[in-house]
C-alpha cells in the first residue's frame, strides 16, 4: 500500500472502498447478503413493522427473528458483524494510507484532512451500526492490529469522539454527492448523542443541521423512494447504488434488499420477503381530522381497497396492497404475494423501484436489482429526532411544529393510477380515502407529546430500518411487541409460536463464531 499512498488517486481509492462498505455487500460469498443489507431489514423483522414473508421453509433463520428465537449462531447476525467490521477495516486503511501520503506530501493537508475526516466519519458510522445491533462491540482505531479486542467499553462515547474529530476535519460541503461533510457528521453526532440520551447535546447538533439551511423536506413523500428523487434536498446521507456498472452480479445495487420485493407474476418476480404487518397498515388509519389512530390493543384485519376507513396517503407509499396501483406498474395483485397469506397479504414498497428505473441486465435476479438509493438519514428523520429532544427538553410546541411539518408534507401527494405522484384528492383514487391533518391543538402533556412524536416516527420512517432500534432505545420493546404479536397472530398463525420478548432482546447476540475466535476477549451479551 505504499504504492497506494504515492498519489491522491491511490489514497482516494482506499477511501472509496471504505464508502463501499455502506452497501453492506462486499462480495464475500460466505456471508448472507441479507444480513449485510444497509436497511437492517432482517433485524427489523423482530419489530412490529413487517414479517419475514415468503413461504414456510424459506429463510427459517429469519423466521427466528419473527418468533424471538434468534440465537448467536444465526448467519445473518454473523454477516452483519463481518460486513460492519469490513467497513471499519477499510476506513482505518484509508486513514493509514492518507497519513503515509502526508509523509511525502506534507503540504497537502487540505486533501489529507478531508480524507481522514471522511474516513473517521465512516469509522464512526460503522461502529454506530455495531452499537445499534449489539450495543457492546469492540472499537477499532487505525492503530489497532490485534483483531481480538474486548467489548468492555461503552461504544457511544467513542463514536461521539470520532464524529467530533471528523467534524473538525471534514469540509463544509460535500465534495461529491455521496460523500460526508461537516453537516452529515453533525447529523450523526446528534443521533449518537440521542442514543446516549444526551438530549441537549443531541438537540444542539440537530439545530446546527436544521439552521444550516442545506436540507429541506422534499415536496412529495415519494421523492425519497424514487430513482428520480435520489439525492434530493431531503437526503442527508444515502447508499449510492448503481447497476450495469461492470459487475454482472449487481454488487453495488440494492443487493441485500432484493428479497424484499413482490413475488410471483409481479414485475420483480421475486422474492416476497419483508411483508408489512397488519398492524402497520392499521397505524395509517386517521380520524376525521386526519390525525392518527393508535393501533394499540385493537383487533386487526386486512385493509382492502374497498375499505371506507380514512387513511394517511403514506400508507400506499409504504405498503403494497392488492388492487391498489403499485408505483407505475399497474395494480398490485394477490398473486404477487408469496406464501398466500402465510405472512399476510401486503408487499413492501419503499425499496421497490419503478418502471423508469433501469435494472441489472442479466443475472438470475436482474429484475430485482436497481440503482435506487437506500436512504440512511433523511431530513425528516433529523426533524423527528430533534422533536424527541424538544419533548425531553420540555419544548413541546417546538416538537409539534416539527411533526406538523412532516404531516403537512405527507398530504402533498399520493399514489395515483396515472402516476405514482398525484394530488391526495385526485378523482382517480378509488382504493382509499386519504386524509392527513396536522396537530392543531397545543401539546401540553409531555407523555402525550412523546407518544405523538414516536407514532409519527413509526409512520414516516416505516420499513426504513429504524423501528427495532427505536423500540430498544425507548425501552418499550416488551410492551409493544407483546401487544402486537398477540393481535397479529390472529391473522398469522405461525406467530402463535413466538416467544415473549425479554430483557435480553434489547441487544442482538454477538455471533457465536466471534466469541470463539476472540480467545475469550469478547463477552456475550446478557441472556444469550
Amino acid at each position: 500500500n505504499s504504492t497506494l499512498a504515492s498519489n491522491q488517486n491511490g489514497v482516494n481509492s482506499t477511501l472509496i472502498s471504505a464508502y463501499k462498505g455502506l452497501v453492506g455487500w462486499t462480495g464475500n460469498w460466505n456471508e448472507t447478503a441479507w444480513g449485510t443489507a444497509p436497511s437492517n431489514w432482517v433485524f427489523n423483522i423482530a419489530s412490529d413493522e413487517f414479517h419475514k414473508g415468503s413461504e414456510p421453509g424459506d429463510g427459517d433463520s429469519q423466521l427466528a427473528f419473527e418468533l424471538y428465537q434468534w440465537n448467536p449462531s444465526d448467519g445473518d447476525i454473523r454477516s452483519k458483524w463481518i460486513a460492519t467490521y469490513e467497513g471499519v477495516v477499510r476506513a482505518n486503511s484509508a486513514i493509514n494510507t492518507a497519513n503515509d501520503y502526508l509523509k511525502n506530501n506534507p503540504a497537502d493537508t487540505k486533501f489529507v484532512n478531508s480524507v481522514i475526516g471522511q474516513a473517521t466519519f465512516l469509522r464512526a458510522y460503522y461502529h454506530f451500526e455495531a452499537y445499534k445491533v449489539w450495543k457492546n462491540a469492540p472499537y477499532y482505531l487505525e492503530s489497532d492490529t490485534d483483531f481480538k479486542k474486548a467489548n468492555d467499553k461503552p461504544m457511544l462515547p467513542l463514536i461521539i469522539a470520532d464524529l467530533e474529530k471528523a467534524i473538525g476535519l471534514l469540509p463544509a460541503n460535500k465534495e461529491s454527492v455521496g460523500r460526508a461533510d461537516k453537516t452529515v457528521a453533525t447529523a450523526y453526532l446528534g443521533k449518537a448523542k440521542l442514543y446516549n440520551k444526551d438530549y441537549a447535546g443531541a438537540l444542539a447538533a440537530f439545530n446546527t443541521v436544521i439552521s444550516s439551511g442545506k436540507y429541506k423536506l422534499s415536496d412529495c413523500f415519494y421523492d425519497n423512494f424514487s430513482i428520480e428523487g435520489d439525492n434530493n434536498a431531503e437526503s442527508i446521507f444515502a447508499v449510492q447504488n448503481s447497476v450495469n456498472d461492470g459487475d454482472g452480479d449487481g454488487g453495488n445495487s440494492n443487493f441485500g434488499e432484493r428479497l424484499a420485493l413482490p413475488h410471483g407474476d409481479s414485475p420483480y418476480g421475486c422474492c416476497g420477503f419483508k411483508t408489512p404487518s397488519f398492524d402497520l397498515a392499521y397505524s395509517f388509519k386517521v380520524d376525521s381530522k386526519g390525525l392518527p389512530i393508535s393501533s394499540k390493543g385493537v383487533a386487526l384485519s386486512r385493509l382492502t381497497n374497498t375499505s371506507t376507513d380514512l387513511v394517511d396517503p403514506r400508507l400506499d407509499y409504504t405498503i403494497g396492497r392488492t388492487n391498489v396501483p403499485y408505483l407505475d406498474w399497474g395494480v398490485h395483485k394477490d398473486s404477487w404475494v408469496r406464501g398466500q397469506g402465510y405472512m399476510g397479504w401486503y408487499s413492501p414498497k419503499k425499496n421497490a423501484h419503478s418502471k423508469t428505473a433501469s435494472t441489472l441486465s442479466g443475472s438470475w435476479s436482474g429484475a430485482q436489482l436497481s440503482a435506487l438509493n437506500v436512504e440512511l438519514m433523511r431530513y425528516s428523520d433529523v426533524l423527528l429526532m430533534a422533536a424527541e429532544c424538544e419533548v425531553e427538553a420540555g419544548s413541546l410546541e417546538k416538537a409539534r411544529e416539527y411533526v406538523n411539518l412532516i404531516r403537512k408534507r405527507a398530504g402533498n401527494c399520493a399514489q395515483g393510477s396515472s402516476s405514482p405522484k398525484v394530488a391526495m384528492n385526485a378523482a382517480e383514487i378509488t382504493w382509499a380515502k386519504y386524509n392527513v391533518g396536522i396537530y392543531d391543538a397545543a401539546w401540553t402533556n409531555k407523555d402525550v407529546a412523546r407518544d405523538a412524536v414516536r407514532l409519527e416516527r413509526k409512520l414516516e420512517l416505516a420499513t426504513e430500518g429504524h423501528r427495532i432500534f427505536d423500540l430498544q432505545r425507548w425501552g418499550i420493546l416488551e410492551a409493544t411487541i407483546s401487544d402486537y404479536s398477540v393481535r397479529e397472530a390472529k391473522l398469522i398463525p405461525v406467530l402463535l409460536q413466538a416467544q415473549k420478548p425479554t430483557a435480553k432482546n434489547y441487544a442482538f447476540p454477538i455471533p457465536a463464531t466471534e466469541i470463539s475466535r476472540a480467545s475469550g476477549k469478547l463477552k456475550q451479551n446478557d441472556g444469550y
Binding site: 463501499k20 428465537q69 454482472g248
Partner: protein, 1042 residues
C-alpha cells in the same frame, strides 16, 4: 562360434515346469539380437537361429531360461516359476526397481484388469482394485473424480499426484487419457515409496506408464465397443410421480389451515382442470407464452425423471500401432470416445492421439519421447457431480411436482408462475436451453528424455516434460417464462478461457552394482517444476438475437452497459534435490533411504525449503535357514517404513497481503451516477510471511507372503499418517473484515488404517483356471487440531440443498477428536406428543406436536442449539473389492464386486422431498411414513423438525457388482484365417446390481467438486444433495490384434 553357421528353424513348446501346462505369450529371444517371437496360445513357437547362439525364454512370474543351441531343431522348454516372487520390474520414483526389492507400500494395477470398463477417466475404475484407495465420482460423463489414498490428510487438496511418463500432473479429472494407452499404474501409498516425489506426494502418488513399442514385427490393435447406459436407480424410484398423491401431501402439509391449501389440491380426488392458472375453466384466449402460459393439470402425474433421461450410448474406439527393431521402437495410438449422459442433451466426447518412440544411439545412449494430444468436448449440467444446489438441473428435478405438465397448452414448456405448485423451473426445458452450453479442454502433454550409460551400472538420465492445457467454455441463459420466480426476460451470455502451462526438468544419476551378495543402488537427482495459469472471462446481457451465431462478447450485439470482463493469473515454482540409497544383502535384508529437499515459491525465502527424509527396511524372512522347513511358505517379506512428506497446496503469494478489488466488491458510486462507480481499492487477502511447509509423518509396517507355491498371495500393510503444521486458512475474527484469511500452519490430522489383499490362483488343467482376490481397506481419520483458538470449524456451505436447513450452516463439522466432515445436529428421540415437550423445544424454531422430538443432550430441561452434537460419520469403516475370474477354454468370465461398509449419508435433499420446502415434490412413501416412528408429520409451519438432525442420517453401506464380463477368444485357426494374431469379443456390464438399504438413488455419493470453490471436497463429503446417480451400463466390444 561360427561366423558361417547357417540360420535354421527351431521350434518347440514352452510349458510350466510344475504342471506341464503350456505358457502362451512367453518371449523367445535370440540373445544379443532383436530377433524374437512369442509363444502362441498353445505354447508353441518357432524361430530361426544359428547353432551356438543362445535362446532366452522368459515370461512374467517365471525364471527366465537361457539355452545354448546345439544341433536340435526341436527345443521344448519347461519354465520354473520364480519361487523368489515375481521378477517384475517397476518403474517408480525416477528409477527401475525389481518388485521384490520394494520395501514401501505399493500396489500395482495392471491395465488388463480394467480392460473393457467404460468411463471417461481411468481413475474412476480404480475403486477396490488397489487397497487403500477410495474413489468417488458421479454418473455425469467427464466429471471430476476424488481419489483418496489412505484417507485424508489435509483440509485443502487431498488429490494424489499423477506422474504420467515422468511428467507430474495435479488434475482430478484425468479424463484426457485414453485408458487403452496405459500399460501399468502404480499406487505409491507410504512415505518410503512416495517421498522421492517429495513435496507434492503427501497424498500418495499414482505413477502411470504408457504403452511403449517392443522390438519385433509391427503390431496393430483395434479396440472398439458400443454400450448403453441408464442410471443405477432413477429418481422416479425415489420420488413420487402421482398427482393425487402429491395433492394429498399438500393437504396434509397445510392441515392446520385448510384455506391455505392451494386451489388445485383443495378437493380430495379431484384436481383442478388447469394448474396454471389454477382453475377448472380458463379463458384460453388469454394465453401468452411470456406472460400467461396456460397449462392443463397433469391428472395422472408427470414423471420428470423419465422425461429428462434417456438410454445413453457410449462409443469407444481406439487403434494402436507399435513395433520397432533393436535400435528404435515406437507406439502410436488414436482414440475416440463419445459418452452420452443419461440426462438429455449432455455428452462427453474425447479424441486422443499419442505417440512415443525411443532410439538407441550407439551402445550407451538412448533417446525417447512421449507426446499426447487430447481434445475434450462436453455439455454438462453446470453443477457437477454430488454438488447440486437448488437452482441446478437436478435440484429443479427434485423440486418438480407431478401436477405440472411438461408442456403448456401451446406446446411450450410447462409453466407455473406461482410457487403453489412447487418452486421449480421446468427441468426438461432447462436441459434443452443448456444443450449448446459446452466446454472444451485441450491438452498437450509430453516429455523427451535421454539416458546415457556412463559405465556399467552408472546411468544418467535427463527428462524434460511439458503440460499445456487450454480450457474454454460458454454459456447462454435464455429468458425463462416458465420460471416460477417470474420471467427472467434478460438473456445473458458468458465465455471463459483459461490456459495452464507447466514444465518440469529432471536430471538423475543412478548407480546399481552387485558386490557379491551385496546389492547397492544410489540415485541422485535434481528437479525443477514451474507452472503458471491465466484465465479470462466475460459476460454480456440483453442480446438482440439469441441465435448461437451471435454468441460473442461484442457490445454491438447486446447491451454495452452489461459488459463485465475479468482476468486473473498466477504462477509457482519448485526446485528440488533428492537422493535415494538402496542396499540389499543376499536378497534377504533390504534397506532403503531417501531424502528430498524442496524449495517452493509459495513460501518466503527464509522458510522456503523443506527436507523430507524416509527410511524403509525389508526382511525376506523366508530366505532364512530356519524357515526352509516351511514348505507351504513360498515367500515372506516383512517391511517397515518411516518417512516425512511435505505439502504446499496453498494459494500462490500467500506470504503477501494483496490489495485490489473489483467493481462489485470495492467500487462505489460516490458521484451518484447510478451506473459509473469510482475505483476503490482495499485489502482482499491477508498474507502470512511465516507460513511453512505442511508435513506428515508416515509409518507403515507390512508383509508380502506367498503360500503354497505362490497359489496364495497376501499383502498386509498397517499404517499411521500424522499431519502436522497442517496448512489451513481458518477464518479470522470478523473484526478483521471480509478479506480472505491467509493459510497458516495450524491444523493436525491423523489417519490410521490397514490395507489387506489376498489372492488365490489355481490352474485346474489346460482348459480351466480361476483366480480370486479380495482387497480390504480401513482407515480412521481424526482431526487433531484446527486452529489456535477453536477446536472445530464448520464446513462452509457447499451451496447445496442442505444449506436450506434452518441450521444448515452447522450441519457439517470438523472437530478435534472426530473425523473430518462429521455430521452435526440434534439427536431424534421420537415425535413430540405433548405441549410441554413442544415448549421445551421452542429454542429450535417453531415446533409442533407430531414434529421431531430432539434429545436434551445437556440435560438442562431445554432443547436448543446447546444440544447439537455429532450425529454421523461419512467415512466407511471398511471398503473392499472382490475379483473373481474363471477361464474355460476360450471363455473368460470375470466379476468384480465393490463394497463400502459403515458410512453414513446425510440426505440433504430431504429438506425438499420430505419437508416439502417450496411445495416440492415428495418421497414416494411419505404419506405412509409421516407421523409414525421417527418420521415427523408434514406441517408447513414446523420449522423445528427441519433442523439438521439424525433424521437426515441414513446408513450408506452398499455392495455393488461393479463389473461382470464374459469374453471369448476366437480360436487360433480362425484368427489366422482372418489375418489376425489375436481376436477377442466381449460383453461387459457395469454396476448391474447394487445391494443397499440406502433409499436414495445411489449410495456411491460423489464428493468431487463439492465444498468451497469445489476444491476442499473432503470437508463436505457424504452429503446427498441430489446426487447424480452412477451409470448402469452394458457394453459389447471387440479387441483385434494384427
Amino acid at each position: 562360434t561360427s561366423a558361417f553357421a547357417q540360420a535354421r528353424k527351431i521350434s518347440g513348446k514352452v510349458v510350466d515346469a510344475g504342471d506341464g501346462v503350456p505358457v502362451p505369450g512367453a518371449t523367445v529371444l535370440v540373445k544379443g539380437t532383436t530377433k524374437g517371437t512369442a509363444t502362441d496360445p498353445d505354447g508353441n513357437y518357432s524361430i530361426e537361429a544359428n547353432s551356438g547362439s543362445t535362446l532366452v525364454f522368459s515370461f512374467v512370474g517365471y525364471k527366465s531360461q537361457e539355452i545354448v543351441l546345439g544341433n536340435q531343431s526341436i527345443l521344448n522348454v519347461s519354465l520354473l516359476t520364480d519361487a523368489q516372487a515375481l521378477q517384475e520390474i517397476v518403474i517408480t520414483g525416477y528409477q527401475q526397481l525389481r518388485k521384490k526389492d520394494i520395501t514401501g507400500a505399493v500396489t500395482i494395477v495392471n491395465s488388463d484388469e480394467l480392460k473393457g470398463v467404460k468411463s471417461s477417466s481411468f481413475i474412476q475404475n480404480l475403486a477396490g482394485r488397489a487397497t487403500g484407495l477410495t474413489v468417488s465420482t458421479s454418473g455425469s460423463p467427464g466429471d471430476a473424480t476424488n481419489v483418496r489414498i489412505r484417507g485424508i490428510s489435509s483440509f485443502t487438496s487431498n488429490d494424489p499426484l499423477y506422474v504420467i511418463d515422468g511428467v507430474p500432473v495435479l488434475d482430478k479429472y484425468q479424463n484426457t487419457i485414453n485408458p487403452n494407452d496405459i500399460e501399468t499404474m502404480q499406487v505409491l501409498k507410504d512415505a518410503s515409496a512416495a517421498s522421492i516425489y517429495g513435496s507434492r506426494a503427501s497424498n500418495g502418488v499414482i505413477v502411470i506408464t504408457t504403452k511403449q513399442g517392443k522390438s519385433g514385427k509391427a503390431k496393430l490393435t483395434y479396440n472398439g465397443s458400443i454400450g448403453f447406459a441408464t442410471a443405477v436407480k432413477g429418481y422416479d424410484k425415489v420420488l413420487n410421480t402421482s398427482s393425487e398423491y402429491y395433492a394429498e401431501a399438500m393437504r396434509r402439509k397445510f392441515g392446520n389451515d385448510p384455506t391455505a391449501v392451494p386451489a388445485f389440491a383443495q378437493t380430495p380426488g379431484k384436481l383442478t382442470t388447469y394448474i396454471q392458472p389454477m382453475a377448472n375453466s380458463v379463458d384460453l384466449n388469454t394465453y401468452d407464452p411470456l406472460t400467461n402460459q396456460i397449462s392443463l393439470t397433469n391428472q395422472a402425474g408427470t414423471n420428470w425423471w423419465d422425461e429428462m433421461t434417456r438410454i445413453a450410448q457410449v462409443h469407444d474406439h481406439s487403434i494402436n500401432l507399435s513395433g520397432g527393431n533393436e535400435v528404435s521402437v515406437f507406439n502410436v495410438s488414436a482414440s475416440f470416445l463419445s459418452q452420452e449422459g443419461i440426462l438429455n442433451h449432455t455428452v462427453f466426447n474425447r479424441g486422443t492421439i499419442r505417440a512415443n518412440s525411443s532410439h538407441k544411439i550407439g551402445k550407451r545412449l538412448k533417446i525417447g519421447e512421449n507426446l499426447m494430444y487430447a481434445g475434450n468436448y462436453g455439455v454438462g449440467i453446470g453443477s457437477s457431480g454430488g454438488n447440486n444446489n437448488e437452482g441446478g438441473i437436478l435440484g429443479e428435478l427434485i423440486k418438480a411436482t407431478p401436477v405440472v405438465p411438461v408442456y403448456d397448452i401451446n406446446g411450450g414448456p410447462g409453466g407455473h408462475l406461482t410457487a403453489q405448485t412447487g418452486n421449480f423451473t421446468n427441468p426438461t426445458q432447462r436441459l434443452i436451453d443448456n444443450k449448446n452450453n459446452n466446454n472444451t479442454y485441450r491438452r498437450l502433454l509430453g516429455n523427451i528424455y535421454a539416458e546415457f550409460d556412463i559405465i556399467s551400472g552408472l546411468k544418467a538420465r535427463t527428462n524434460f516434460g511439458s503440460d499445456l492445457g487450454n480450457g474454454w467454455s460458454r454459456g447462454f441463459t435464455y429468458p425463462q417464462p416458465y420460471r416460477v420466480e417470474g420471467n427472467k426476460t434478460a438473456n445473458s451470455f458468458n465465455e471463459n478461457w483459461n490456459q495452464n502451462y507447466s514444465w518440469n526438468w529432471t536430471n538423475t544419476l543412478q548407480y546399481n552394482k552387485a558386490f557379491g551378495e551385496h546389492n547397492v543402488g544410489v540415485l541422485v537427482g535434481q528437479e525443477a517444476v514451474a507452472s503458471k495459469g491465466r484465465s479470462i472471462s466475460g459476460s454480456l446481457a440483453n442480446f438482440f438475437v439469441t441465435d448461437i451465431n451471435a454468441w460473442y462478447l461484442q457490445t454491438a450485439l447486446a447491451d454495452p452497459a452489461s459488459r463485465s470482463v475479468n482476468s486473473s493469473g498466477g504462477e509457482s515454482r519448485l526446485s528440488s534435490y533428492f537422493t535415494k540409497v538402496d542396499y540389499s544383502f543376499n536378497d534377504k535384508y533390504i534397506l532403503s533411504a531417501t531424502v528430498r529437499r524442496d524449495g517452493s515459491s509459495r513460501f518466503l525465502s527464509d522458510v522456503r525449503y523443506g527436507i523430507f527424509p524416509a527410511f524403509s527396511a525389508g526382511w525376506r524372512i523366508s530366505q532364512e535357514s530356519f524357515m526352509q522347513d516351511l514348505t507351504w511358505l513360498s515367500d515372506l517379506k516383512l517391511r517397515a517404513s518411516y518417512g516425512e512428506l511435505g505439502n504446499q497446496q496453498l494459494r500462490d503469494y500467500n506470504f503477501a497481503s494483496i490489495y485490489g478489488g473489483s467493481v462489485g466488491s470495492t467500487f462505489y458510486d460516490i458521484n451518484g451516477t447510478n451506473s459509473s462507480p469510482s475505483t476503490g481499492y482495499a485489502l482482499r487477502s491477508r498474507g502470512n510471511a511465516g507460513t511453512v511447509w505442511e508435513s506428515s509423518i508416515n509409518k507403515n509396517i507390512g508383509f508380502d507372503a506367498s503360500l503354497f507355491n505362490n497359489a496364495i498371495n497376501v499383502v498386509l500393510d498397517v499404517y499411521t499418517r500424522s499431519t502436522n503444521n497442517l496448512l489451513f486458512n481458518p477464518q479470522l475474527p470478523g473484526t478483521a473484515g471480509s478479506s480472505s484469511p491467509p493459510f497458516v500452519n495450524v491444523g493436525a490430522m491423523e489417519n490410521k488404517g490397514f490395507d489387506l489383499s489376498i489372492s488365490y490362483r489355481k490352474k485346474v488343467n489346460n482348459d480351466l483356471g480361476f483366480n480370486a482376490s479380495v482387497n480390504l481397506s480401513h482407515y480412521k481419520n481424526t482431526v487433531k487440531s484446527v486452529s489456535g483458538d477453536n477446536d472445530f470449524f464448520y464446513s462452509d456451505g457447499s451451496g447445496g440443498l442442505n444449506g436450506r436447513l434452518p441450521n444448515g450452516s452447522i450441519s457439517i463439522i470438523n472437530k478435534v477428536g472426530y473425523p473430518i466432515s462429521s455430521f452435526n445436529g440434534y439427536v431424534v428421540d421420537g415425535l413430540l406428543k405433548t405441549e410441554a415437550e413442544v415448549a421445551a423445544q421452542s429454542g429450535t424454531g417453531a415446533a409442533y406436536i407430531g414434529g421431531l422430538k430432539f434429545k436434551d443432550i445437556n440435560g438442562d430441561g431445554k432443547v436448543n442449539s446447546d444440544d447439537i452434537t455429532i450425529i454421523g460419520n461419512p467415512h466407511p469403516k471398511l471398503t473392499g473389492g472382490v475379483n473373481l475370474a474363471v477361464n474355460y477354454k476360450n471363455f473368460d468370465l470375470s466379476a468384480f464386486v465393490f463394497g463400502s461398509l459403515g458410512n453414513d449419508i446425510f440426505t440433504g435433499y430431504w429438506i425438499q422431498s420430505y419437508f416439502m420446502n417450496f411445495n416440492s415434490n415428495v418421497l414416494n412413501d411419505i404419506l405412509e411414513k409421516e407421523g409414525t416412528g421417527n418420521y415427523p408429520k408434514i406441517n408447513q409451519l414446523d420449522a423445528s423438525s427441519r433442523n439438521s438432525s439424525s433424521f437426515y442420517i441414513q446408513k450408506g453401506s452398499y455392495l455393488r457388482l461393479n463389473n461382470l464380463q464374459l469374453s471369448y477368444n476366437l480360436s487360433n485357426d480362425l484368427v489366422k484365417k482372418l489375418g489376425m494374431s489375436n481376436a477377442r469379443v466381449y460383453v461387459q456390464g457395469q454396476n448391474l446390481l447394487t445391494i443397499t438399504k440406502y433409499i436414495g438413488t445411489d449410495p456411491a455419493i460423489s464428493n468431487a467438486n463439492i465444498g468451497n470453490s469445489g476444491q476442499y471436497n473432503d470437508t463436505s463429503m457424504g452429503v446427498d444433495n441430489g446426487n447424480y446417480p452412477s451409470n448402469k451400463m452394458v457394453n459389447v466390444g471387440v479387441s483385434l490384434e494384427f
